[in-house]
């Protein structure tokens, strides 16, 4: 009689099956993993300093994950100081799971958490980054927190949660060509709005979801927060188990959790065949329109981020760009989400396709997604991007614009020099 969120939070609160928890209740739970990055990590460790606690062995060796990803390679002196401070803190607190740029397992924090076997079904994971909800695609309850609470969880192993009500999303039917997980989630956010899931958890069901590859599911869970959701959970299936079994990096055991006779606050149903390649116009992810309806010239095309920087994303973009050129008026930037994705893309020849097309390619970083570096926009410039937010000034100047789209739309747009539905390229 519970949603996935209620079950995981119930289990982790120690109340177990008998003392089940319900939406609205405030519970204190034991967390499985705690992730911080180069922006949120230093404030968290400063809090630990203030508390004057040392981490226990389990925290040091397993539960705390530190990833340098946002402003690395260091973008300026201030960010270099910040990365250095984080490096020193990780050493001082004895953090074993520390990910440095270029090294084995490194990349954008959420991709690292998934590739490195931290994310798995039934786990409760917090991260001091709002897109921590990404691991819902593997059946975890994962959610973004602030630096102070990350520190509190490191110190005590526990954190308070308000058990969220859950909305159920059912997407049935077959997706059209070039329609991806990104389009499903943009379509939903366009429908319910950026506060449509405020304080709530989302669960996703339907044939279109079960047919999706894991990468596209991660895109959906990743952007749950863009509707205000606390978590975006997809019940784990064979695709998830296969991924975890194939990866030798899975840590520990896991226990899949499913809803049973759950009470959902709302149920939304969508016909997958009606979803088209979708673009969110500035300055809000719910400002969505079909890509085919836009005739908007662009200055930059950005392919990357925790939302859409995986190998599947690079493959579909490369497929579109093979033997083509990036438009004369457009700079294209390609940033794989992790070192592993980068290596794989090289092995598969994708990177060469991008380079020959006239794109700029660099190693994994959050880069320009949040206006850090590697493609910051000038005033009046417009970027079509596979990232997750298009707020005012998100990618640079306050008078620049970001259009959010899937990797196929970004690739087609890069070639055409304007926002383009990739199906039009084939006509």
């Amino acid at each position: 009689m519970s949603t996935i969120a209620e079950k995981i939070l119930g289990e982790k609160s120690g109340k177990g099956r008998e003392g089940k928890v319900e939406a609205g209740e405030i519970v204190e739970c034991e967390v499985d993993y705690i992730m911080v990055n180069d922006i949120t990590g230093v404030p968290a460790f400063e809090v630990l300093d203030e508390l004057g606690v040392e981490l226990d062995e389990e925290m040091k060796k397993e539960k705390v994950v530190v990833v340098q990803d946002h402003y690395v390679p260091n973008k300026d002196v201030d960010s270099a100081e910040q990365a250095k401070a984080l490096r020193n803190y990780a050493r001082r607190y004895g953090i074993v799971n520390y990910y440095e740029i270029g090294k084995e397992g490194s990349g954008i924090c959420h991709q690292v958490m998934i590739e490195e076997g931290f994310a798995a079904p039934g786990r409760l994971i917090i991260g001091a980054d709002s897109h921590t909800c990404s691991y819902g695609a593997l059946g975890a309850f994962s959610t973004g927190v602030g630096s102070t609470e990350a520190a509190a969880a490191m110190a005590t192993g526990r954190l308070w949660f308000k058990v969220p009500a859950t909305q159920k999303f059912v997407i049935d039917g077959e997706l059209k060509r070039y329609v991806m997980g990104k389009d499903i989630i943009l379509h939903i956010i366009g429908d319910i709005g950026v506060s449509g899931s405020l304080y709530k958890a989302q669960e996703f069901y339907g044939t279109a979801i079960s047919n999706l590859c894991l990468s596209d599911r991660i895109t959906i869970s990743n952007m749950a927060v863009e509707a205000g959701a606390k978590a975006g959970i997809i019940p784990p299936d064979e695709k998830v188990f296969e991924f975890l079994n194939d990866s030798s990096r899975l840590r520990g055991d896991y226990k899949p959790v499913y809803a049973s006779d759950a009470e959902y606050e709302e149920v939304f149903e969508y016909d997958a065949s009606e979803i088209v390649p979708t673009v969110a116009k500035p300055f809000s992810p719910d400002n969505t329109v079909p890509a085919s309806e836009l005739d908007v010239p662009i200055d930059q095309a950005y392919l990357g981020s925790c939302t859409n920087g995986r190998i599947e994303d690079l493959r579909i973009a490369a497929e579109i760009m093979k033997d083509k050129k990036v438009n004369q008026e457009v700079r294209m930037i390609v940033i794989p989400a992790s070192k592993r994705v980068f290596e794989r893309a090289i092995e598969e020849g994708l990177i060469l396709i991008f380079l020959k097309a006239g794109a700029f390619v660099c190693g994994p970083t959050c880069g320009a997604c949040l206006g850090g570096h590697m493609g910051v926009l000038a005033s009046g410039e417009r970027c079509i991007s596979t990232t997750n937010r298009n707020f005012i000034g998100r990618m640079g100047h306050k008078d620049s614009e970001v259009y959010l789209a899937n990797p196929a739309v970004v690739a087609a747009s890069a070639v055409e020099g304007k926002v383009t539905d990739p199906t039009e390229l084939e006509m």
């Binding site: 405030i26 922006i39 949120t40 230093v42 404030p43 400063e46 809090v47 203030e50 508390l51 946002h70 402003y71 300026d76 201030d78 960010s79 100081e81 910040q82 991260g127 001091a128 980054d129 709002s130 921590t132 973004g144 927190v145 602030g146 630096s147 102070t148 609470e149 520190a151 509190a152 110190a155 005590t156 308070w160 950026v194 506060s195 405020l198 304080y199 927060v225 205000g228 606390k230 809000s284 949040l370 206006g371 850090g372 937010r389 707020f391 005012i392 000034g393 998100r394 306050k398």
Partner: protein
């Protein structure tokens, strides 16, 4: 000295509150110098101790950056009143000791109004001579009040030790 009301719209995101390029420090005062830099540059210069923000729905959406409530605390903001808050911002604020009120007063309180807040009673009094109104709000759950009254999560943990 008069408390100033700073009015903002709906869906004020954390990139507006503190743009990402300034996230190389966690210091509240340093962050405050860039609060709302892109959308309301006068805020950082003019905001004073005790000022109040009034906004619409989904205040603080977007990034989990705790730098957002820190910047507001650094600017002297004593309370944010909004129709609703994004959840991570909500948690961060309570954990840091920034008072939040969820109340639907977006159409009722204007910049220039003079208000008085009674947190325990859950009442906002609009003392503006032309208005003289009272708005009720639901006080925070007991657990969150306890956090706030301890001065945030860290002090709460210290007290528990």
């Amino acid at each position: 000295m008069r408390t100033r009301i700073w009015k903002f719209g709906h869906n004020v995101d954390t990139d507006q509150i503190i743009p990402a390029e300034y996230l190389t420090t966690g210091d509240a005062k340093k962050l405050a110098a860039h609060a709302f830099a892109k959308v309301r540059p006068e805020f950082a210069k003019e905001a004073k101790e005790g000022d109040i923000i009034v906004a619409g729905a989904n205040f603080g959406c977007g990034s989990s950056r705790e730098h957002a409530p820190r910047a507001l605390l650094g600017a002297g903001i004593s309370c944010v009143i909004a129709r609703s808050f994004a959840r991570i911002f909500f948690r961060n604020s309570i954990n840091l000791g920034l008072r939040l009120i969820e109340a639907d007063v977006f159409d009722k309180i204007e910049e220039g109004d003079k208000i008085e807040i009674r947190f325990d009673a859950g009442v906002i009094k609009n003392l503006t001579s032309t208005k003289k109104e009272e708005y009720k709000f639901k006080p925070l759950p007991e657990f969150m009040q306890k956090l706030l009254n301890s001065g945030g999560l860290i002090n709460y943990i210290k007290k528990q030790k």
